[in-house]
């Protein structure tokens, strides 16, 4: 088992955002988390690499407990890629330097090797020719692809995607999704929060439906889409497919 989340709780003030989340992820699996906004999906992702500290519960990456106070969190984060909704590319660095920074400063690679590796990852997301561009000179879709390359360069065991296409113009969503589809096919382990039901349906090994801080239902896409066990799942899927479309 690559990732195991056990009884995760997180509270902001009086509001309990996560109320006992448990699930796991096998190596090479892609799981998609869906659910109404404000149900703790992003908080859950951020708890997994402790960008947000959970209040209670345990998380394991392989046999290492991420939530242990003794865990070397920087070392763990280097093994978990994170793709943000609004990209968060380093504004002052070129695409190449964005991808290279972690390689040089976290992994300690010499500049030459870091450059080669970074260029390879940029090529993988189709942006070899944009290596010298600053984020502001790239479209949203290109920025998100650079941020995927930045995550990939670290050789992560797992990549977390936090609504990676939600900040994009509709015509740019496809290029990011296609990179993600390729990644999933290549065997990368992925945990994806998204409203893209087409992606969820065609790529996910399993879909997790979350609402109000708990997992309501989880299962293979066909089962969830065709025979949801829970009425809330059915209602959410019906509403979201009306909005975003389900085929694709």
């Amino acid at each position: 088992m690559l990732l195991r989340v056990e009884d995760l709780h997180k509270r902001y003030g009086r509001e309990e955002v996560l109320r006992g989340i448990s699930f796991s992820l096998e190596k090479g699996e892609t799981k998609v988390i869906i659910g109404p906004s404000g149900t703790g999906k992003s908080t859950l992702l951020r708890c997994i690499n402790r960008l947000t500290e959970p209040d209670r519960g345990r998380i394991f990456l392989e046999d290492v407990e991420i939530t242990s106070p003794k865990a070397d969190i920087n070392k763990i984060r280097a093994q978990i890629g994170f793709v943000f909704q609004d990209f968060n590319l380093f504004t002052h660095l070129t695409a190449l330097d964005n991808v290279r920074l972690g390689l040089m400063r976290v992994k300690g690679l010499p500049k030459k090797q870091a450059t080669e590796r970074a260029l390879r990852e940029l090529a993988r997301v189709g942006l070899a020719d944009k290596a010298k561009a600053y984020p502001a000179e790239l479209s949203g879709g290109q920025q998100q692809r650079v941020s995927i390359a930045r995550a990939l360069a670290m050789d992560p065991k797992l990549i977390l995607f936090d609504e990676p296409t939600s900040a994009l113009d509709p015509e740019l969503i496809g290029e990011v999704l296609s990179v993600m589809v390729d990644l999933a096919k290549s065997g990368m382990t992925m945990l994806v929060v998204t409203h893209e039901m087409g992606f969820a349906r065609s790529v996910a090994d399993e879909i997790i439906f979350m609402e109000k801080g708990v997992i309501v239902e989880q299962g293979p896409p066909e089962q969830l889409f065709k025979h949801p066990k829970h009425p809330r799942t059915a209602e959410f899927l019906r509403r979201i497919t009306e909005l975003y479309g389900g085929e694709g």
Partner: protein
């Protein structure tokens, strides 16, 4: 009105200018180091470091809230009462440094806080430590953003340093007073002195403008004139 100008004033004034430059340059540089440290404490100190946040804030409020002149007089005339005697140069340098540090701290704080919060998150997410994130992600952006207010502070300090003549320093202003008194030509000497200040400030304004343009990155900071 009969105006008189003498070339022989110039070498004296130039010597004063050198001292003005020295005092301003040193205090701006030392003030930048102290100011940046204060700003980092004001932005990031929490938990066990929280008292340092309080100290840094108190410092900034005190030195921005009292006149530079009072600070200089306090150091030069007040400290001897405590048994600490500073030379006019040291008292001047210290007053200017302590004062500009408080202002620079606020400029640095503003610049650091205007770096988007997602930058720190993304830096930590790839495994950079907090210090590395500061060094490689936050500060390179903040230092670019701070150039315009920092140039403003430099301009202010070049002129503000003139008060050191009050403790007997022969800076540009001090020289001007000496020559003006000796020659009974205070007005003319002051006009020439003002031109010296003006030239110095224009020079630095242009230089910092150049630095700002050279280090400009698309999407970061205020766009320049096109």
């Amino acid at each position: 009105m009969n105006l008189v100008f003498k070339w022989k004033w110039l070498p004296d004034l130039a010597q004063g200018l050198a001292l003005t430059l020295e005092l301003t340059g040193l205090s701006m540089a030392l003030g930048a180091v102290l100011g940046l440290a204060l700003a980092l404490l004001r932005v990031y100190a929490k938990g066990p470091l929280l008292p340092l946040y309080g100290l840094a804030s108190a410092y900034v409020h005190f030195f921005r809230g009292t006149p530079l002149l009072v600070q200089l007089m306090g150091l030069y005339y007040g400290l001897p009462a405590l048994g600490i005697r500073l030379s006019p140069f040291l008292a001047s340098l210290l007053a200017l440094t302590l004062n500009t540090a408080a202002y620079q701290a606020e400029y640095f704080r503003g610049a650091i806080q205007s770096v988007k919060s997602g930058q720190m998150l993304a830096a930590r997410a790839i495994g950079l430590t907090r210090l590395q994130a500061l060094r490689y992600v936050i500060l390179p952006q903040a230092l670019r953003l701070v150039i315009p207010p920092w140039s403003n502070e430099l301009v202010y300090m070049i002129k503000g340093s003139a008060i050191v003549y009050l403790v007997g320093m022969l800076d540009l202003m001090g020289r001007a007073r000496t020559i003006g008194t000796k020659e009974f030509r205070m007005f003319e000497v002051l006009v020439v002195t003002a031109l010296f200040y003006l030239a110095l400030i224009l020079l630095f304004t242009v230089a910092l403008r150049w630095v700002e343009n050279r280090t400009r990155i698309p999407g970061l900071g205020v766009p320049g004139r096109s």
